[in-house]
């Protein structure tokens, strides 16, 4: 594709983008959520670079300064070992976002193709894949993650893995549902009539048409995953001290929370804020990407 072709082929995308932007503007809550997400991403990227001492976070322990009240020096106070809670909450952003993204990414990688294949081929293959998914969906949410994480051993990597393992079936289900209805769509029939092989149909027609619901689900799931990671850490199944992971911080702060409210409040608020923002974004995206809203 030469350059002018490229530019031309981008133009309609730009228009789509404009539509989204319009809908976004209309939806104030979603717009704010988007700013929130951008802010969080910026924090996650920039803070570890900007803070020269971020590499030496291990050395931050300064127990003489423990559990100091919020002040100008320590806007969120200090923790039980005299570390600055503000700094740790900021640094925790990266951990949470990164793990959530990876976990959701892994779940997508497993779930989406499986769902597309099951939905498109149907029959026996569908039956097998979907029964298998049913089994995973047979666990109440979070429970499988708890079980896996507790058996794999507590660390963040395992927590991520556990979440991915317990999360993919949701995507399989969504994508399969889409695929089944798409399969009946005439453009897929047309493609079949042309003689396209199943592989092409799945990757060119089915998966791209599942993008919207999957994106909506994924953006909401990022919130859910962050909450889950925090919960796992809270149960001692996630991040390990002294990592500045929010759930772990809340878990630790439990012991001090009658003396040092700030130590519990701020990491908890950070979780709340982040999850809220992603949930609102997902909610908004659902409306924005909904073909019904989009049609006109």
């Amino acid at each position: 594709m030469n350059q002018s072709q490229l530019i031309k082929s981008l133009k309609p995308k730009y228009k789509e983008f404009k539509v989204s932007l319009f809908l976004l503007k209309k939806n104030r809550l979603t717009k704010m959520a988007l700013y929130g997400v951008v802010l969080l991403v910026l924090i996650a990227i920039i803070v570890p670079i900007l803070l020269p001492s971020a590499q030496h976070i291990d050395q931050d322990a300064n127990p003489q300064q423990k559990l100091l009240q919020p002040s100008l020096r320590h806007p969120f106070g200090t923790d039980e070992l005299g570390r600055d809670v503000f700094k740790r909450v900021l640094l925790g952003t990266r951990i949470s976002l990164q793990t959530a993204l990876i976990a959701v990414g892994m779940a997508l990688l497993i779930g989406v193709p499986l769902g597309a294949v099951a939905g498109y081929f149907g029959g026996f293959l569908d039956e097998i894949i979907m029964r298998f998914t049913d089994i995973f969906l047979g666990f109440p949410p979070l429970l499988l993650a708890i079980a896996i994480a507790s058996f794999l051993g507590p660390n963040l990597r395992n927590a991520m893995l556990a979440i991915a393992i317990s999360w993919w079936p949701w995507y399989t289900r969504i994508v399969r549902g889409q695929a089944v209805s798409l399969k009946e769509r005439q453009f897929i029939k047309a493609s079949k009539a042309i003689g396209s092989p199943p592989r092409k149909i799945i990757f060119k027609h089915i998966i791209p048409n599942c993008v919207a619901p999957v994106i909506v689900q994924a953006s909401m799931d990022i919130g859910g995953v962050i909450l889950t990671i925090a919960a796992l850490s809270f149960l001692g199944l996630g991040a390990q001290a002294p990592a500045p992971e929010w759930g772990l911080m809340v878990s630790t702060s439990r012991n001090y929370f009658l003396n040092a409210w700030w130590y519990s409040v701020f990491p908890g608020l950070a979780i709340f804020f982040t999850v809220l923002v992603f949930n609102l974004l997902g909610d908004g995206l659902r409306e924005i990407l909904d073909p019904k809203t989009r049609k006109n």
């Binding site: 050395q59 322990a61 127990p63 070992l81 012991n255 003396n259």
Partner: protein, 503 residues
């Protein structure tokens, strides 16, 4: 006590409420129980003797007195008469023989403390004789907090061994079990026929309840709902000191914290490296902040207040320069050393100590990964036959099963064929010999034995197979209306409810 059992009189009822941080009891079998259950069973059952570490005296409980033969191989106990088990049967020498034999035969829990016992003879109804295969301090053993309880033979014979597991008891203690809901809550009620009688002021009932959140325990005691609790963060303790109706009591416990090096794995097989690591440990910070000041840096392996502790033993102190130069000597460059430390999940003090240690090590270019693990997993890892797969440093508390230095030195540093608790994998024949002899001696001459135990610790300090972190203090938080409570560190966290009353 002036009890008032009316429905309206709930507040006047003489109840003592002990808020405990974990399940008060998991195993009701007095021969087997080897954990939290001490706090319950020591109120329900009794042992022949009770050891007072302050005076180093043995108080007769079910035995009135005892004697020992010249060679230290025969011990004779005269038993108290007129004692009744909770099932109504009489306590006698048969019961003692039955109980100890049962414990030995079951080979569970702490039964090994009786390993020196060859035979138990019933001399007459109220005299019992222990024949030993080698000299051992049977008075200490018989006053052990675990595996030394005397139970009703008829109860066991009538009901079978499983009976205990369904939360039943057949002891002689002042309190009997009223109800228990799994491990969470145990209610004890006074045993009317207790041999020591109920003269004076006592509680009718005692409640021991699991309250795992520290904040909850603190709030319960602050609001006067609970009478006793322990294991609160230092910050809470500080705050509680200023609360009017709360009293704080701290005293040495016999629990101390170790950091065992994996001496079988390079470079920790090099004593210089181990010393360097011992010099990098922030003892003061750990004592002050991890243990909240309720601790003292260890001097050797035996905790403060326990006999066998050497008051003049050498103590490492934090000296990063020294640590660095020792590492240089051992040929280890900055940033080269990466170590894994494991500690028991859920233990705040261990966690904080590990984090503080990590911070110090980071300053001398040693990267420490710290990992919280359930005790069993941690232990499993330490027992791996391949030294490379084990953790480099393992944090562990030790407390005595019998009040002897041997409990520490033998279990933790004696050569072992299969690894059990020698988690530093320390092998030193000289050391083994010294402590074996010292143990045998302790039955006869406690002072001589003490000197030998101290000598053994000098070797340990030189070889530095572990960091001697701190000796823990027990901190008790009491409702100030609670009187008569006297903690005994030989019986960890036990509250003898019989001694307590309210004023």
């Amino acid at each position: 006590g002036g009890n008032n059992n009316g429905i309206g009189g709930a507040d006047q009822m003489d109840i003592v409420y002990y808020a405990y941080n974990a399940e008060p009891i998991l195993n009701w079998d007095p021969s087997v129980m080897f954990s939290n259950g001490v706090i319950i069973l020591n109120n329900v059952y009794e042992t022949l003797l009770r050891f007072d570490p302050d005076t180093k005296e043995f108080e007769g409980i079910l035995a009135t007195d005892y004697s020992q033969s010249e060679d230290g191989l025969t011990w004779t106990f005269n038993l108290r008469e007129g004692v009744k088990f909770h099932d109504g049967t009489d306590f006698n020498a048969e019961a003692v023989k039955f109980s100890i034999d049962r414990t030995i035969e079951m080979e569970k829990g702490a039964s090994y403390i009786w390993s020196a016992v060859e035979k138990i003879n019933v001399v007459n109804d109220y005299t019992v004789e222990f024949k030993l295969s080698y000299p051992a301090p049977l008075n200490l053993i018989a006053s052990s907090p675990y595996a030394a309880f005397i139970m009703s033979p008829s109860a066991v014979q009538n009901n079978g061994d499983e009976w205990f597991e369904q939360a039943n008891e057949a002891g002689t203690g002042p309190y009997k079990l009223e109800s228990s809901s799994m491990g969470d809550e145990v209610i004890l009620a006074k045993y009317d026929d207790y041999w020591n009688g109920w003269e004076g002021e006592h509680f009718d009932k005692a409640i021991v309840k699991k309250v795992s959140e520290t904040s909850s325990r603190r709030q319960l005691i602050e609001k006067g709902e609970a009478d006793i609790t322990h294991n609160l963060p230092a910050e809470d303790v500080e705050a509680l000191k200023n609360v009017q109706n709360v009293e704080v009591l701290s005293l040495p416990s016999f629990t101390n914290l170790f950091g065992f090096f994996n001496t079988e794995k390079a470079p920790l097989d090099n004593v210089k490296v181990r010393k360097a690591l011992a010099y990098a440990f922030p003892y003061d910070d750990v004592v002050n902040y991890a243990a909240g000041g309720y601790a003292e840096q260890s001097r050797g392996a035996i905790p403060k207040g326990h006999w066998g502790r050497g008051d003049d033993l050498f103590q490492y102190s934090k000296d990063l320069d020294k640590a660095k130069s020792l590492l240089d000597e051992a040929g280890i460059n900055q940033g080269e050393l990466k170590l894994l430390l494991t500690y028991m999940s859920g233990d705040e003090a261990e966690k904080k100590a590990a984090e503080l240690y990590k911070a110090e090590l980071s300053k001398i270019g040693v990267e420490l990964e710290i990992r919280a693990m359930p005790w069993e997993s941690q232990w499993e890892m330490a027992m791996d036959t391949n030294a490379q797969n084990r953790q480099d440093i393992l944090m562990m508390y030790w407390w005595p099963d019998t009040s002897s230095p041997y409990s520490w030195l033998y279990s933790l540093y004696h050569t072992e064929e299969d690894i059990l608790f020698n988690l530093a994998y320390y092998y030193n024949e000289d050391f083994d010999e010294i402590i074996d002899n010292a143990y045998a001696l302790s039955g006869e001459d406690l002072d001589a034995s003490e000197q030998e135990f101290i000598r053994a610790q000098e070797i340990l300090i030189k070889d530095s197979p572990s960091i001697f972190m701190f000796d823990k203090e027990d901190v008790w938080i009491l409702n100030s209306s609670l009187k008569g409570f006297k903690p005994n560190p030989a019986y960890p966290l036990v509250v003898y409810f019989y001694d307590c009353y309210r004023k």
